[in-house]
C-alpha cells in the first residue's frame, strides 16, 4: 500500500461550532446568515464596562463531546485570555482555555480507509472551549485601509479538538474527520456544516524519512484554509510531496526550521506560505480575571452521560453483530446519520428481515430520498409501513416485483398494505386455485411436460408466462415449485 520513501505524519486541529442558541459569553443569537452586525451586544462588542457571563449550555455540549471522545474531563477548568490585536477581535483578546482545558486526553476509532472491516485509532491531546472571532474583509489599495468587519460570529462557542500526530495518510486524515463529523452530529452538539464554517480543520504535516536506519523529520507545516473533506485530503497529499522534494533539494530537517503556516489554494491545488499574523505569536496567556474557574460536578457528567446515545461505531457494531449485516451495509446505513439508523431499527422492529430491510433502505429508500432531495424524517413511508410491506414479501404474500409496485404506490398514498394491494389489483391467490391452474397447464402442454421430465429445467419457464396469463396474481415462484412437484410425482 504505502510505497512512498517516507512516512507521513499528520495531526489535525478541528474547530467545531457548538450548536447553542446563544453565544459563549453573552445572550446574542448564533443563527448563521443574519445581516452583518445585527447579532451583537455590549459584551461581544467588547464595549467598556461590559463583562462576560458563561453560557452553561456550551459547557454541557463540550462535556458530552469529551465523553464521546473518551476524554478525561477536567474536575476544574478555567478561562484564559489569548492576547492579540486584530480588527475582528474587538476586546483585543480571545477568551480561550490555555493550561486547564475542559477535555483532556482521549481517542477516536474510525474505519480504516485501507481495510474497511477494521478500525484505526487517533489519540486526542485535548479539546477546549473558546470564543470565535468575527469576520473581516480587507481592501488594501494604494496605502488606504478599507476594512469591513462583521461581528455576528464574534463570541460563538467553539470546541477545538486537537489530535496527536497519529494519522499516517491523507486518506486516514479524511476518514478520521469524517468519523468525527458523524459522531458530532450523532451527539447533536454541532451541525458540522463546513460551508458555513461550523467545522474547520487545520492540519499539521511533516515527513519521517528513513536514512541509514534513522528517521529524519522534515519541518512541521500547519496547513490552513481547508474548507472541505476533499481539500483536507488533497492538501495533505500535496504537502507530503512538496516537503519530500524540498528535503531532497535542501536537506532541511525539523531542527533547521520553525513551524511554518501555509494556506491551501483549492483552485491551484497547492499550499502557499502565509504572511504570519503575529510576528512572534506571543499571546501572553493569563487567567481571565472576569471569569471564575468552573468545577465540573458528577451531576454535570451524569447529565451528559444520559444523553450520549449510541455512537456511530456502536451502531455499526450492533448492526453487524446483532442483526447480521455485512460491515459495508452497516456502514452505509450508519453513515446516513442517526435518523437513518432509527428508521432501519423501526423497520426491523416491525418484524421485517434485517438483511431485506437493509437492502430496501439502501436501494429504494435512499434512492427516493436522493432523487427528491428529502431527509429521512420527511420520507412519506413510515418505518412501520415499510416493515409491513417487507413482511408480506418475507411471507410470499407478494413477490419482490409486486412489492416494488406497492412501494411506489405508498410513496404517494397513505394506505395499509392490503389497501394498496387492492388499489393495485393485487390479490393473493389461494393454494387450491394454484393447484387447479397447474393441473390445467399440465393437461394443456404435454410436449413441454415431456421435455421437463426428460430433465430440461428451462422448459417450465414457458409455462410460467402462460400461468400469469390465466391469473395475473399467481406468484411465479409458487407456480414453478408446484409444477415441479407435480411432474416429479408423475
Amino acid at each position: 500500500m504505502n510505497q512512498t520513501p517516507y512516512r507521513l505524519v499528520v495531526g489535525l486541529e478541528v474547530h467545531v461550532q457548538l450548536s447553542t442558541e446563544t453565544k459563549l459569553f453573552c445572550g446574542c443569537s448564533t443563527t448563521f446568515g443574519a445581516p452583518p452586525n445585527t447579532q451583537v451586544c455590549p459584551v461581544c462588542l467588547g464595549l467598556p464596562g461590559s463583562l462576560p457571563v458563561l453560557n452553561e449550555k456550551a459547557v454541557q455540549l463540550a462535556i458530552r463531546t469529551g465523553l464521546a471522545l473518551n476524554c478525561k474531563i477536567a474536575e476544574v477548568t478555567k478561562w484564559d485570555r489569548k492576547n492579540y490585536f486584530y480588527p475582528d477581535l474587538p476586546k483585543g483578546y480571545q477568551i480561550s482555555q490555555f493550561d486547564q482545558p475542559i477535555c483532556g486526553e482521549g481517542y477516536l476509532d474510525f474505519p480504516d480507509p485501507d481495510a474497511p472491516e477494521t478500525t484505526q485509532r487517533v489519540r486526542l491531546i485535548r479539546a477546549h472551549l473558546e470564543e470565535d472571532a468575527g469576520k473581516s474583509m480587507h481592501d488594501e489599495v494604494h496605502g488606504r485601509a478599507d476594512s469591513k468587519i462583521d461581528l455576528n460570529r464574534t463570541g460563538t462557542p467553539l470546541l477545538e479538538i486537537v489530535s496527536f500526530p497519529d494519522l499516517t495518510s491523507a486518506a486516514a486524515a479524511k476518514a478520521y474527520l469524517t468519523e468525527l463529523r458523524l459522531l458530532l452530529t450523532y451527539l447533536g452538539v454541532s451541525d458540522c456544516n463546513m460551508q458555513e464554517g461550523s467545522l474547520r480543520a487545520d492540519a499539521n504535516v511533516n515527513l519521517h524519512i528513513p536514512v541509514d536506519g534513522n528517521d529524519i523529520a522534515t519541518p512541521i507545516v500547519e496547513v490552513k484554509n481547508l474548507n472541505s473533506f476533499r481539500a483536507v485530503e488533497r492538501a495533505i497529499q500535496y504537502e507530503a510531496g512538496r516537503q519530500f522534494e524540498l528535503w531532497k533539494q535542501t536537506g532541511k530537517t525539523i531542527k533547521d526550521a520553525p513551524k511554518q503556516t501555509r494556506g491551501w489554494d483549492d483552485e491551484a491545488g497547492v499550499t502557499k506560505a502565509q504572511r504570519e499574523k503575529e510576528e512572534s505569536a506571543d499571546y501572553r496567556y493569563f487567567p481571565d480575571p472576569d471569569l471564575v474557574p468552573l468545577r465540573v460536578t458528577e451531576a454535570m457528567l451524569s447529565q451528559q452521560k444520559v444523553v450520549l446515545g449510541e455512537s456511530p461505531s456502536a451502531a455499526r457494531n450492533r448492526l453487524q453483530v446483532n442483526l447480521g449485516l455485512k460491515p459495508y451495509d452497516a456502514d452505509v446505513i450508519v453513515s446516513q446519520g442517526q435518523s437513518m439508523v432509527a428508521y432501519f431499527d423501526g423497520v426491523v422492529a416491525g418484524g421485517a428481515d434485517p438483511k431485506r430491510s437493509s437492502n430496501w433502505i439502501q436501494q429504494d429508500v435512499m434512492r427516493t430520498l436522493k432523487e427528491n432531495d428529502l431527509s429521512v424524517e420527511q420520507f412519506p413511508i413510515s418505518a412501520a409501513r415499510l416493515s409491513e410491506l417487507l413482511r408480506a414479501i418475507d411471507a410470499s404474500v407478494v413477490d419482490n416485483t409486486r412489492g416494488k409496485s406497492i412501494f411506489q404506490y405508498l410513496l404517494e398514498h397513505d394506505a395499509t398494505i392490503p389497501d394498496a394491494m387492492a388499489a393495485l389489483g393485487i390479490v393473493q391467490v389461494d393454494s387450491s386455485e394454484i393447484e387447479t391452474l397447474c393441473k390445467e397447464l399440465i393437461d394443456e402442454n404435454p410436449k413441454v411436460i415431456a421435455e421437463a421430465r426428460a430433465g430440461n429445467a428451462k422448459a417450465l419457464g414457458s409455462l410460467i408466462g402462460a400461468a400469469r396469463k390465466k391469473n395475473a396474481n399467481a406468484d411465479a415462484k409458487v407456480v414453478r415449485e408446484l409444477l415441479q412437484k407435480m411432474i416429479d410425482a408423475m
Binding site: 455590549p42 464595549l47 463583562l51 480588527p87 471564575v292
Partner: protein
C-alpha cells in the same frame, strides 16, 4: 440652612418627611457645583439644571403621592467617570473615550438611580484610574479644596473633592489599589473599599479586574453604610460578584466596642516613609479605641514589604489586556492619518490598519497609561511571565495568608491610609516610582480582597487633613462600619467642609 454638613441619612429623612424638597436639596448642591467647580476642577461633565430638576421633581411627586422610598431617595450624588452612565459621556478622563456614550448604566449606578438618588454629574480622575493624584487626567488636574496647590489624591480625586467641598453629600468611585481611600484621606472625608465581589463591576470600566471595586465617599460613616447597602449585592452580569446575602449594614452601627480586638501592623507603623503626624494620628486613634473598651495587639504582616511590587506587576498585567480594546477600529479616539503617517507604514512593516491603531493609541492614551500597558505587556511576555506575573500571583497569596492569620488574632486592623498628607501638584508627577511607593498601605486590601476604610483623623499643623485606615476580614463590612461610626461619635473627626469662599 447649611445642608452640606448634615449626614445624608439625616437629609434623606428630612426629604422623606417633606421638611425640605428634593428640588431644594438638588438645587442647593448643584449651585455649589457651579460655584466651586471652577476653583477645584472636580467635574468632567455635569447634567444641566433642567435635567437635574426634572429628576428631583419626579422624586418629590412620588413622596407627595405617599410612596415609601429608600432612605437615600432624593439625595444628590456624583459619580466617578469610570462608571457607565447613560445621558453623559463616560470618559475615564481619557482622550481615548472623550466622546464615549455607554448605552447602559453600571449596575451600581443603576441601583443608586433605582433608590431615587439624583446624579449631578461625573467626576474627574486619573486616566483609566491609573494614578494617585488626579494629575493623570487627560483634561485637567483637580485641586485639593483644603489647599489648592495640592492634589486631592487619586485616582478618584474628583469624587473626594465634590464631597469635601460640599458640592455633593455623597459620591462613588472605584478603588483598585487605594483609589477611594487615599483621596478620601487627602480631602478629609470617609472612603470605603468593600470586599472584592461585594459590589458588581458591570459597567465599571476595567483597570485591573481582579482588584477593582466600587466604593462610596461621605462625611459620615453611617452614610457609607447607607450607600453600600444600596449598591452591594449579587449581579448575574458580573461572574465575580459574590452570591451572598447582604446583612443590614446600619442596624449594628451603634454596637459598643467593648472587647473589640484591634491589631496594629508593626510593618506599617514602623515604615520609614511614614509621616510623624500621621503616625501620631494612628496612636491617638489607638487610645480612643482603648477608651471605648477595645484591646490593642501588635500584629505582623511579614510579606507587607512585597505588596507594592506585587501590585505593580498584577495590576499592569491585567490593564495591558483590559486596555487592548482601545484600538480605534470599533470606537474611541481615532487618529487622523496624514499621508506621512500612512506612508510610515511602509517603513514600519505595519499595514495601514495597524499603523492607524498604533498612532491612535499613541495619541489617545496618556503617559502613565502607556507606561503601565508596557509594564504589563512585558511582565506577561513569554520568558518573563514566570518571573513576574506568576511570581506576583504567588506573593499575592502569601499576602492574603498573612491577613488571614492576623485576623485569627484580631477583629480589625488599624493603621495609616497613606504615608503623607496631600502632596503638592507637580511634586511627584515626574517620579512614578515615588508615586507608586505611596500606595504601600492601601494596595494590600485589594490584593487580599478584604474591606478597608479610611477616616479623617484631624489636621496637620499646616491645616491638611490627616487620616487613618481600618481593615477587616472579607465580608465584615458591618464590623468595619460599626467601628468607624463609634470612632466618629467618640470624636475622632468632626465632619468639616473645606471653605472655598
Amino acid at each position: 440652612m447649611q445642608l452640606e454638613i448634615l449626614s445624608a441619612v439625616q437629609l434623606g429623612a428630612m426629604i422623606a418627611k417633606r421638611e425640605v424638597s428634593c428640588r431644594e436639596v438638588s438645587k442647593y448642591f448643584l449651585d455649589r457645583v457651579h460655584q466651586f467647580d471652577s476653583i477645584v476642577s472636580a467635574m468632567v461633565n455635569v447634567f444641566d439644571e433642567a435635567t437635574v430638576m426634572e429628576q428631583a421633581d419626579q422624586v418629590d411627586s412620588r413622596i407627595l403621592g405617599g410612596e415609601k422610598l429608600s432612605p437615600l431617595a432624593g439625595l444628590p450624588i456624583t459619580i466617578k467617570d469610570v462608571l457607565c452612565l447613560e445621558g453623559l459621556p463616560t470618559t475615564c478622563s481619557s482622550k481615548m473615550l472623550q466622546n464615549f456614550r455607554p448605552p447602559y448604566n453600571a449596575t451600581s449606578v443603576q441601583r443608586l438611580i433605582d433608590a431615587g438618588m439624583i446624579v449631578l454629574g461625573k467626576t474627574n480622575m486619573d486616566e483609566f484610574a491609573m494614578g494617585s493624584s488626579t494629575e493623570n487626567s487627560a483634561f485637567f488636574p483637580s485641586r485639593n479644596p483644603w489647599a489648592l496647590d495640592r492634589t486631592p489624591g487619586g485616582s478618584s480625586g474628583g469624587s473626594a473633592v465634590t464631597v469635601a467641598a460640599g458640592m455633593s453629600p455623597l459620591s462613588i468611585g472605584s478603588d483598585t489599589g487605594g483609589s477611594v481611600r487615599q483621596p478620601a484621606a487627602f480631602c478629609g472625608v470617609c472612603g470605603l473599599k468593600p470586599t472584592y465581589g461585594l459590589v458588581s463591576r458591570f459597567g465599571l470600566i476595567a483597570f485591573a479586574s481582579s482588584l477593582d471595586q466600587v466604593g462610596p465617599f461621605a462625611h459620615h460613616v453611617e452614610d457609607l453604610a447607607a450607600v453600600l447597602q444600596v449598591i452591594a449585592g449579587h449581579d448575574p452580569r458580573d461572574s465575580t460578584s459574590l452570591n451572598v446575602a447582604i446583612p443590614d449594614l446600619t442596624s449594628g452601627l451603634n454596637a459598643p466596642l467593648k472587647g473589640l480586638r484591634v491589631g496594629v501592623v508593626r510593618e506599617h507603623q514602623d515604615h520609614p516613609a511614614l509621616d510623624p503626624e500621621i503616625s501620631k494620628a494612628v496612636q491617638a486613634t489607638q487610645k480612643l479605641l482603648q477608651s471605648l473598651g477595645a484591646t490593642i495587639e501588635e500584629v505582623h504582616l511579614p510579606n507587607s514589604r512585597h505588596s507594592v511590587a506585587t501590585y505593580y506587576v498584577i495590576a499592569p498585567c491585567e490593564a495591558s489586556s483590559n486596555l487592548a480594546r482601545y484600538e480605534a477600529a470599533h470606537y474611541g479616539y481615532r487618529a487622523r492619518m496624514t499621508t506621512e503617517a500612512s506612508s510610515k507604514s511602509s517603513t514600519s512593516g505595519r499595514n495601514p490598519l495597524e499603523e492607524m491603531m498604533v498612532v491612535s493609541r499613541s495619541q489617545g492614551l496618556g503617559e502613565e497609561v502607556k507606561r503601565r500597558i508596557m509594564l504589563g505587556t512585558f511582565a506577561l511576555s513569554a520568558g518573563y511571565s514566570d518571573a513576574y506575573y506568576k511570581q506576583a500571583l504567588k506573593v499575592r497569596r502569601l499576602i492574603a495568608n498573612d491577613y488571614q492569620q492576623a485576623f485569627q488574632k484580631v477583629d480589625v486592623l488599624l493603621g495609616p491610609a497613606f504615608p503623607t498628607p496631600a502632596f503638592r501638584l507637580g511634586e511627584k508627577i515626574d517620579d512614578p516610582v515615588q508615586m507608586y511607593l505611596g500606595d504601600q498601605f492601601t494596595v494590600e486590601a485589594n490584593l487580599a480582597g478584604i474591606p478597608a476604610m479610611s477616616l479623617p483623623a484631624g489636621f496637620t499643623r499646616d491645616g491638611l487633613p490627616l487620616a487613618i485606615q481600618l481593615q477587616a476580614p472579607q465580608l465584615q463590612e458591618a464590623r468595619l462600619l460599626n467601628v468607624g461610626h463609634q470612632l466618629q461619635r467618640a470624636g475622632l473627626f468632626e465632619p468639616k467642609i473645606a471653605g472655598l469662599v
